[in-house]
């Protein structure tokens, strides 16, 4: 199988270890990985503001990097960016190439559970107590878990992968699917509410004795870690790929 790796802008800059872990993990399972080196961003920062004019510029750059590649999937280690491409990404003309590119873009956890159907990572040990933070985009956009608002069968794909890790303890916090308040630009334009939501999320982890917060979305964790560090807790934050690949941490 051949995939293109979609590395969101903030991961390239702030969390290169997450992209490295994702790349190594895919390579471990004999997947041929292409990394388009001129990629920048999915356009979510401007699209969330309702700014279609500027989103179009970013979407055009994304399409130029990905739409002509001969790959089976475009894999991204970030639920909210993948959701942006799959469900929004409507500022540029929807040519056949663009829609095909959007349809084969997939989030990393779901690439393992739904495409590769690999859920056994029992060769990895992680002897810690963790909580899973599935982002709002991953839950309500990509359905990486069942939605608590719906009376539907319960599942959690991230937990399905992490459950197989040796010596891991997964704890459920009081409000597992409550938004942490990152919300992209919301976190600075609506600072007071965003910070309060982040503080409440961090308190939930602390109250439940969590050591590590693990997520398929680093953007939420960037905000949560910012709050947590400011409040001087001992919480640590990791992307799910870092555990599944056993590093780099």
């Amino acid at each position: 199988m051949k995939v293109a790796l979609f590395v969101p802008c903030y991961i390239d800059l702030i969390y290169p270890e997450v992209a490295i872990a994702t790349l190594e993990l895919l390579e471990k399972y004999n997947i041929e990985v292409i990394v388009p080196l001129n990629q920048t961003c999915c356009g979510q920062p401007t699209a969330n503001e309702g700014d279609q004019e500027n989103s179009a510029k970013i979407e055009k750059a994304f399409a130029e990097n990905f739409q002509d590649l001969d790959v089976d999937y475009i894999v991204g280690p970030a639920g909210s960016c993948v959701k942006q491409i799959r469900q929004h990404f409507d500022a540029i003309p929807q040519t056949e190439k663009v829609t095909a590119m959007r349809a084969k873009t997939i989030e990393l956890v779901q690439f393992f559970t739904d495409v590769l159907k690999i859920t056994d990572f029992s060769n990895i040990s992680f002897p810690h107590t963790i909580a899973i933070h599935n982002s709002c985009s991953s839950i309500r956009g990509l359905h990486i878990t069942s939605r608590s608002e719906w009376m539907e069968p319960r599942y959690n794909k991230t937990e399905e992968l992490l459950n197989s890790i040796k010596d891991i303890t997964i704890k459920h916090i009081d409000r597992p699917d409550e938004c942490c308040g990152f919300g992209g630009t919301f976190c600075v334009t609506d600072e007071a509410v965003s910070a309060k939501m982040g503080q409440d999320k961090v308190s939930d982890y602390v109250r439940n004795g969590i050591e590590y917060v693990v997520s398929p979305d680093m953007s939420c964790l960037m905000h949560q870690k910012g709050v947590s560090d400011k409040e001087k807790t001992n919480l640590k934050f990791l992307h799910v790929a870092q555990i599944l690949n056993n590093g780099p941490f």
Partner: protein
Amino acid sequence: MKKVNVEKNAAEFIYQDDIHVTEHDKNLWNARQKRDTAAAQIPEWEELRNLASAIKEHTLTHLDQYLEQFVTNAEKRGIKVHFANDAAEHNAIAYEILSSHRVKNIIKSKSMLQEECGMTPFLEEKGIGVLETDLGERIQQLSEQIPSHIVMPAIHQTKEDIAKLFAEKIGTDPNNTDPASLNTAMRNNARPKFLLADAGMTGGNFAIAETGTFVVCTNEGNADLTASLPPLHIASIGIEKILPKAEDLGVFIRILSRSALGTPATQYTSHFTGPREGAEMHIILTDNGRSKRLAMDEFWKSLKCIRCGACMNTCPVYRRSSGLAYGATYSGPIGIIIDPTFDAKKYSELPFHSSLCGSCSEVCPVHINIAEQIMDWRKVMMKNKEVDFSRRMAFKAVGVMLGHPKLFRAVEKVAYNAINILPEAITENKTLDPWAAHRKLPDVKKETFREWYIKNRKNNEQ
């Protein structure tokens, strides 16, 4: 009209003390959890939601014929039906009916439509006394505030606030914060006044076309008192409240209170089909922007709303802001998408007061795509240039940067240098950077992934 600064108002609610925001969040989250428990007990819950959504969409797309049917049948039952195009007409009609009956005092039960029309201040100005019979609404009336929640109007106030208010207004002990005694005190104070009213005004939750009946749902039975004590009953009903058949009502009664408070039904579900002997019954069917909204491709589905408040209870932003922050009749997620249809300038910042978590759309019992409409309103505000110039320019810069790979790489380097070189006193200065007031900045690595990749996987590069 001055823009509502919802972010600033929300910040004031959060920072007033540690008690209000914590209690507010806890009580509303509790309502959401009770809703989940109640919904889980109904095996056909999701079918009910789909059915409710389909009935509403069908009715709204055939509204003209169902409205005519409703009016014909209501008039057959002896109800006098009036039509109001907007708030001013609604208020004028209400005043006309009241003054022709020489009404001095009215009692009213909860009606969001009457709130929307600003009816109470209008009538008071004309010398008519208005008394709210719903406890939460009465608290808000005495506080001189608009309701902060569709279903729980005074939910932003603590029992200490209410003890203080009642002490001042009706002479109770300010130190007695026991909810039951506060409730009794208000009942004893208000009930004698109910008996003196010359007319009663209610809203209407549902209006059934095939029978001409309208239905009012309350938990305190106050709509029944309002409708039954005085000899004149006037109901204000929005044109979107129509249901085709009596059998449709069951679907909505089953989802309304479960979604709102997690109870199987409201304590009182009162059906009004014509006046009792010797009394008069009027309906003011009111448009007030609804038919204009029905013609808006992106936003017409907001008319499906049954005013349960589930989207408010689940909204993490609303729970930390309180309804008053929105400065509008409707607050929370549903308010964000309805309010701009009344005044797109005044409410232009509301669509940005959302983390876009999407829980509102998922919890809605009639499947209104609230989150999607919030995004669509952002597009409208951006296009209409209702967004601050500096904010628009900032995103223009982002667009240019992220649209040009080379520029993006250059900016990445600058960001790295800025975050690592500037002292914390500058990068964490609240006025310079809203990120840093309550958050540390992330560490920026010496090497981007791209640089690592070129170094370590160069031979794979395409």
